[in-house]
């Protein structure tokens, strides 16, 4: 009876125990910290976009959309700015780099995921990852003093001799050139493309391989007619991600491209990229419009790489999800 009477009476709690309950033994603080950290990380993208937008206002107002298609870059006399030489230089070098790098990287990915004996996979994967870990400035140093004299110049002379009638291989042949930048970029983005493609191949269910081999396909037919179509969107994502890397690569390109404003089509001519003009002239920008023009180039670069990255990640995530769902079924 005495017990029953106590049931309706609320238990008296001390203030500190109510406080403890309120903040769930510290978990409220923990959750808010985690949330704060996540929001901070997320807001980074928005903050970058905002800062670049706000700090390029002078240039955007002065030149409008014409900034993208004007090829006059004259900070000294007329104070007129146009980004075309840099945009075109970036596109040319990156596309050529991908043309060279994609077949090789896919070969590496296929080798690592499908062909290599088990004991060889780990070490070779490791070497490929190390290639991605070498700092950009060391690629530039090596490119400038070793790679250009040993590979780029001879290749340039050869291309000019054989195909010199094409405008993209027109002479004279320079050492530091768009070709040098493209070749260095090809080496640098290769590991990115190879590593992601390898993971895409790995994510493809074993049953696909077994089925196609059982139908009498050779190993190459299995890879080219079954695995590649199956993982196509993921492979595309890997290539786009590589493109994003190539577009934004700065130090190595700045050191080997020769930094020249001439608007020629030739690969053998020195050029400029968006990243390298920023690296070269940012600290020399003596007045606000000049600085804002350089920041606007950064803004263009940011928007392009952002769009490419969103696209690439969506493509890669789709493959991963698709395989995951099929594996569960």
């Amino acid at each position: 009876m005495a017990q029953d009477a106590r049931i309706g009476v609320p238990e008296r709690k001390s203030f500190s125990s109510r406080l403890t309950n309120f903040w769930q033994h510290g978990d409220l603080l923990y959750y808010s910290l985690v949330l704060l950290a996540a929001l901070l990380a997320l807001s980074l993208v928005a903050a970058i976009g905002y800062q670049l937008w706000a700090n390029s206002a002078l240039s955007r107002r002065a030149f409008g959309w014409g900034f993208l298609i004007s090829s006059r870059w004259d900070p000294a006399l007329d104070r007129v700015f146009g980004a075309l030489p840099f945009i075109s230089g970036t596109l040319i070098t990156s596309v050529v780099a991908l043309l060279i790098s994609v077949p090789v990287s896919l070969g590496v990915a296929i080798f690592l995921a499908e062909l290599a004996p088990h004991w060889l996979r780990q070490p070779v994967s490791f070497l490929v990852e190390l290639l991605a870990a070498v700092p950009s400035v060391i690629y530039g140093l090596w490119g400038l003093f070793v790679f250009i004299p040993a590979v780029v110049r001879p290749t340039g002379v050869l291309l000019n001799d054989w195909l010199g009638f094409l405008p993209i291989f027109a002479g004279p042949v320079f050492g530091p050139s768009r070709l040098a930048a493209a070749l260095i970029l090809a080496i640098m983005v290769g590991p990115t493309i190879a590593a992601i493609s390898r993971d895409v191949f790995r994510a493809i269910p074993q049953s696909q391989r077994e089925a196609s081999l059982a139908l009498g396909a050779t190993r190459w037919e299995m890879i080219s007619q079954v695995l590649v179509p199956y993982g196509l969107s993921g492979l595309l994502g890997a290539v786009i991600l590589g493109l994003g890397r190539a577009l934004g690569e700065t130090m190595a390109v700045t050191m080997v491209i020769g930094n020249n404003l001439d608007l020629t089509l030739s690969l053998l001519h020195p050029g400029y990229t968006m990243a390298s003009i920023i690296a070269n002239e940012f600290t020399e920008a003596t007045y606000d419009l000049y600085l804002h023009a350089l920041i606007e180039i950064g803004l263009i670069l940011f928007v392009i790489t952002l769009v490419l990255n969103l696209l690439a990640r969506l493509l890669i995530w789709r493959v991963a999800r698709q395989t995951f769902q099929e594996a569960r079924v």
Binding site: Q24, G26, D27, L29, L33, V34, A37, A38, L40, A41, L42, L44, V45, A47, I48, L52, N55, V104, S105, G107, V108, I110, F111, L115, V124, L130, L131, A133, V134, P135, S136, V137, I138, Y139, L141, W142, L144, I187, P191, A194, T218, R219, W220, E221, G248, E249, T250, M251, M255, A275, A279, F282, T283, G298, L301, F302, T305, L306, N309, R313
Partner: protein, 289 residues
Amino acid sequence: MMLSQRRASWRKRKSLLMLALCGLATLLAITPLLWILGYVLRAGAPAMSLSFLTQLPTPVGVPGGGVLNAIIGSAITVGLGLLISAPIGILAAFLAAYQPNTPLGLAVRFGTDVISGVPSIVMGIFAYTLVVLPQRHFSAFSGGVVLSFIMLPIIIRSTEEMLKLVPTALREGSLAIGAPEWKTSLSVILPAAGNGVLTGLMLAIARAAGEAAPMLFTAFGNPFLSFRLDQPIATLPHTIFVYAISPYQDWRAKAWATAFVLIALVLALNVLARLLVWWRTRQLGSVIR
């Protein structure tokens, strides 16, 4: 019959050829790595000595001199970057790992992937507008800030992977005996994932230590020894760049020696990180079994 046999052998030969090409592609891809490592070793080793690591730079033409200022500068900027990004990154990784399919968890995972694709030079401009412009001068602090942006996605992603490797039973066990979530995270999961988290930090350090582009207009470089956060400071990759594009022969030689220091550091961190992961997965594998 004849025809189909011939066709079959052609298909087999084509298969062999293409597979061989894949192997060749792999050889071709890792050639530059060996070439770079070999060359840096050969060109950098002669200029290497203890005094190169412990002395300050000398003017052009004066023999001797080292990169002590750059080593200290790199340590300060990378250390500051780590101090900012590690707590935020590890906390955000908990969210990404344990609420992967909530809208916020998805956003963090996706956002991290996107941030890691932002070119480092754009990060540099961002830090410039954020820190250097308001303060009106270049500083070691701004260098640390930009490195923290570069390290953040690496830390989040690798920590997330490592947290996922920790058996769920450990977490559930801790929660079941009444430990609050923060205590579970801090004193059960984090120690269990310890090496893995360390691995992520090391990879982030290795990446940040090699960044030269954003340093051009944040840390800026400094030929003198500096420990101050509000002054420009030298870093190893930036020093390599300055020496490499200089017209002086002895500075170029020093560029190779500095590259030797940097690449030794970066490779050591990478190898150590891999070893830790390898050791960790083996250990966890035996626990699960």
